[in-house]
């Protein structure tokens, strides 16, 4: 089957790839560009492990076709730290022990970043509902919610 040529921006860099018509953006990121930070937990939009930003909007990369990325801008977990400086959310996840196995962590970080961009001072309930699309089986969410609230404080006062 003929593959499609796509030009897009990933974490600020121009990237080109060839993709099959059935390949999702998640497949492309992971299997063609080897950006494996975005994870596949379900492939059906139910777990949030594949969360990325597409033109500034939070999406499940498993629900977007690779070809749809043409001319757009994708942000993944690999672009979250700046140089050797972790994003406040990344730092707070570490400090609060907000990860156990860590497979859900990239998705949570991307989703939480999107929340704080919209709402710098969320309530606990707002955090819980915003993150309801991201599944974590290990932590019971307590430490994740605390980490996000704490990062919000740091980011507001930065």
């Amino acid at each position: 089957m003929a593959k499609q040529h796509v030009t897009t921006t990933v974490n600020g860099d121009t990237v080109e790839f060839l993709c099959g018509t059935e390949q999702t953006l998640l497949d492309v990121l992971r299997d063609e560009l080897y950006l494996t930070g975005s994870k596949e937990g379900c492939g059906s939009g139910d777990c949030g492990a594949c969360s990325v930003m597409l033109d500034g909007r939070l999406v499940c990369a498993c629900l977007v076709l690779g070809a749809e990325a043409q001319g757009r801008s994708v942000e993944t977990i690999e672009g979250m730290a700046k140089g050797d400086e972790l994003h406040p959310l990344q730092q707070k996840f570490l400090e609060h022990a907000a990860l156990q196995c860590g497979i859900c962590t990239p998705g949570f970080l991307i989703a939480a970043k999107a929340l704080l961009a919209k709402k710098p001072n969320p309530t606990e309930t707002e955090v819980r509902y915003w993150l309801a699309g991201n599944l974590c089986r290990c932590t019971g969410y307590d430490k994740i919610v605390r980490a996000v609230m704490d990062a919000a404080v740091v980011m507001r006062t930065a």
Binding site: R30, T36, E95, R137, K143
Partner: protein
């Protein structure tokens, strides 16, 4: 509490909350999990699965698939060894190789929907998927059985015609679906019940639930033309994978090198092999590396879950609150092959109590469902859900506070456990006292709200463990471990090594070794890692210290006895006391004082201490919809010693929320043909962030005298009490005794309606 031989005082690192060493890799997306690896010339493998719950396989024709362009290998059961029945322990469960070879690839029959029947490796996922569609399997569909009680009936469809119940004398004349009968207990039940003022007797059911790890199973196998093989996979135990795969493929273990990737959750579900032997067999045939991953649907249909069960419990007590007799009958679904966790379930059932007369009978029963795998305290949550419900009811009947009733009957050091031995020091009483003292226990409740309490017991285990500490020439320490880090154990183990050596934790670098880099290690499971690997690390560190002292002695030209090791430095005893050499100093000159400094430990850890917990929960039940909302949750548990309290709390919180899912939502739903109807996270709904409140934790520390720092395992106990605590709370909120899981809205509503007389 001070225990001789257990280091509890002057700890600098153990008991603090440092950042975990693998943390940065995990928050940046750099960590490599099961599906994250790509190698040159790699093929993609896929599995063909049975659409039938029970069917004889008449024939499999793979010729069309084989002929498809881009297909490099097709395998069926003929490509794996057919092994005789042989049992070996795996975690808290036993495995049988005859069953294992049939579970990874069906032989005579497909025994559940989703059972693997063939597999292909091709140049792409699309080609592999196409090839699967070309495989022609002829089935003779057989009647199936899903329910544990039905499966025990004499005329039930028979899964294995050579299965004769073990544990009954004389050996039954006819085969059946009952694999095993177990029995524990002592005393005189009849006399005990005769002494009781109140007796409560109830039947309970639980549904199978899946471990629900977010990372699906994945692996990459590469077998070379000379038979040497490498395997990369997500697992709780690389050595176990090596042992299983070598056996199924007829290889020598030394020819197979297994590397554990980072693991995205397991909870016991990644202690077995599914794809790994298939990937190896495909790679052996294709002579190319083969990568395989499960889809989420496949994870649900063909891996895990834990047993569903039917349980009957009877408890008698006097008016003043002493239990006089306790009896339970447990029927656990094993899935298609024997090996449900009914034995540990039976052993746990009444373990939190000090009993004179007790008996538990359990049955391990096969049904046409996926073979169960371990799930956090396997078996325990199921039996204690029932027992703790009856305990609660009996307390209510005699008008006693449920915590008070439990305190009055609580097991403590010296109590004879229902499964036989006398218990060592345990912390149940302390957790109950903490529950009573907690503000949560006195907080007011409103209409339609209820509070529940339940306790839970789990054994924890030890086992074969190795660790190596390699002192680098700059004084840093590379610590090689054989137990995959599933939830922060690199941190707890680095902390113990650093504490022993008296150096900063940052100077210790934990590495999870592959199977060729150290001796055999049992898996990460049974809450054994911080306990057993911790012991091994402490022993290896003491080995290093011994060598460091003798190196310093050599430099100072004294005997090793004249050198002590304090706070990371060798010091000369007696005269010239101010002389000291740091670990780095000694490492630098190691070449001149005797060569590399390496500390080793190879142990068979024993003395794991049981961990007990008490959970408190408040719920609100919506009388219009039957929806149960968790308002407040407090988990109290004895950790022995919390090496890294944040991660101990995390285990308690995670277990509690898994328990909330098990109590309220999660279940396998099958249609009448035995096909799973909810194999995805949309319909098999694990708790999401907005379903649960913050989970309060209280860590109790009653040191385990058999561990150098007093550690008990903590990972499994937290899932034992939640189902019972929540059922007790829902019962208190509605005035109706709930005995069946999950307590989903339709069930709860039906119960409320039945009470209204509707």
């Amino acid at each position: 509490m001070t225990v001789p031989g257990v280091t509890q005082k002057n700890l600098k690192i153990v008991g603090t909350r440092p950042l975990r060493p693998d943390g940065v890799d995990k928050v940046t997306g750099r960590a490599k999990f099961g599906a994250d690896i790509h190698v040159p010339n790699m093929l993609i493998g896929r599995v063909l699965r049975s659409p039938h719950a029970h069917a004889r396989i008449k024939s499999i024709d793979v010729s069309k698939a084989q002929a498809l362009k881009g297909v490099k290998a097709v395998i069926t059961c003929a490509d794996l060894c057919d092994l005789p029945s042989e049992f070996i322990p795996a975690g808290e469960m036993m495995v049988n190789f005859k069953d294992m070879t049939r579970n990874v690839m069906a032989r005579e029959k497909a025994l559940y929907e989703g059972h693997a029947v063939a597999a292909v490796a091709a140049v792409s996922d699309a080609v592999a998927a196409h090839a699967l569609a070309l495989i022609d399997v002829q089935y003779e569909v057989l009647p199936h059985v899903m329910d544990v009680s039905k499966a025990m009936e004499p005329d039930a469809p028979l899964l294995h015609d050579d299965m004769y119940t073990i544990g009954v004398e004389p050996k039954p004349a006819m085969p059946s679906n009952i694999a095993k009968r177990v029995e524990f207990g002592f005393g005189d039940l009849e006399a005990g019940f005769a002494k009781a003022d109140v007796i409560v007797e109830r039947e309970f059911t639980t549904k199978p639930v899946h471990q629900g790890y977010i990372e699906p199973h994945a692996c990459l196998a590469s077998v070379s033309e000379d038979g040497k093989a490498e395997l990369w996979c997500t697992t709780q135990g690389q050595f176990i994978v090596r042992a299983f795969c070598a056996k199924l493929l007829g290889m020598e273990v030394s020819n197979l090198r297994v590397t554990a990737s980072e693991i995205g959750g397991g909870f016991g579900g990644k202690t077995v092999v599914y794809l790994e032997p298939l990937a190896l067999a495909l790679s052996r045939k294709a002579c190319q590396p083969v990568k395989m991953t499960m889809s989420r649907t496949e994870v649900f249909r063909a891996s895990g879950p834990t047993s569903g069960a039917k349980i009957w419990v009877k408890v008698g007590a006097t008016k003043d609150g002493r239990i006089t007799a306790a009896e339970a009958l447990l029927k656990y679904q094993a899935g298609a092959f024997q090996g449900s966790p009914v034995q540990p379930g039976a052993m746990c059932a009444f373990a939190p109590y000090d009993l004179e007369n007790v008996r538990i009978v359990g049955f391990d029963v096969v049904v046409n469902r996926p073979k169960v795998a371990a799930y956090r305290a396997p078996g325990g949550p199921i039996s204690e859900f029932a027992v703790e419900g009856v305990i609660d009811e009996i307390a209510k009947k005699i008008g006693m506070d449920p915590v008070e009733f439990r305190l009055k009957n609580a097991a403590k050091e010296g109590t004879r456990a229902p499964y036989g031995p006398k218990l060592g020091p345990i912390g149940l009483v302390e957790t109950l006292q903490a529950a009573k003292a907690h503000a949560h226990y006195r907080a007011p409740l409103k209409a339609n709200q209820g509070r529940g309490v339940a306790s839970g017991f789990w054994f924890n285990i030890g086992g074969e463990t190795c660790a190596t500490l390699n002192v680098g020439e700059d004084g840093s320490v590379a610590m090689v471990l054989g137990t995959p880090d599933i939830g922060g154990s690199r941190a707890s183990l680095s902390m113990m090594a650093a504490e022993e050596l008296g150096i900063p934790m940052e100077q210790v670098h934990a590495i999870i070794g592959d199977t060729s880099s150290l001796g055999f290690n049992f898996l990460t499971g049974g809450s054994r890692v911080t306990f057993s690997s911790g012991m091994a690390v402490v022993e290896a560190a003491r080995d290093v210290i011994k060598q460091l002292r003798s190196r310093a002695a050599k430099i100072w030209e004294v005997s090793a006895e004249e050198v002590e090791w304090v706070e990371g430095r060798a010091r000369l005893l007696g005269e010239g006391k101010d002389k000291s050499l740091s670990l780095a100093d000694l490492a630098k000159t190691a070449g001149k004082t005797g060569g590399p400094i390496v500390g080793n430990a190879a142990i068979n850890a024993t003395g794991a201490g049981p961990s007990l917990a008490t959970h408190l929960v408040d719920v609100e039940v919506d009388p219009e919809t039957g929806k149960v909302t968790i308002l407040r949750y407090t988990a109290i548990q004895d950790a022995g010693k919390a090496v890294h309290p944040s991660y101990v709390e995390g285990q308690m919180q995670g277990g509690a929320v898994q328990g909330i899912g098990w109590a309220l939502n999660e279940e396998y739903i099958y249609d009448d043909k035995g096909r799973l109807e909810n194999p995805g996270f949309l319909d098999y709904r694990i708790p999401v962030c907005s379903d649960v409140p913050m989970i309060d934790t209280v860590i109790v520390e009653v040191p385990n005298p058999r561990h150098p720092y007093g550690v008990r395992g903590v990972g499994e106990t937290p899932i034992v009490p939640p189902m019972a605590a929540i059922a007790n709370a829902v019962s208190n909120a509605t005035g109706y005794r709930f005995t069946d899981l999950p307590m989903s809205p339709p069930r709860v509503l039906a119960a409320i309606d039945s009470q209204r007389g509707g």
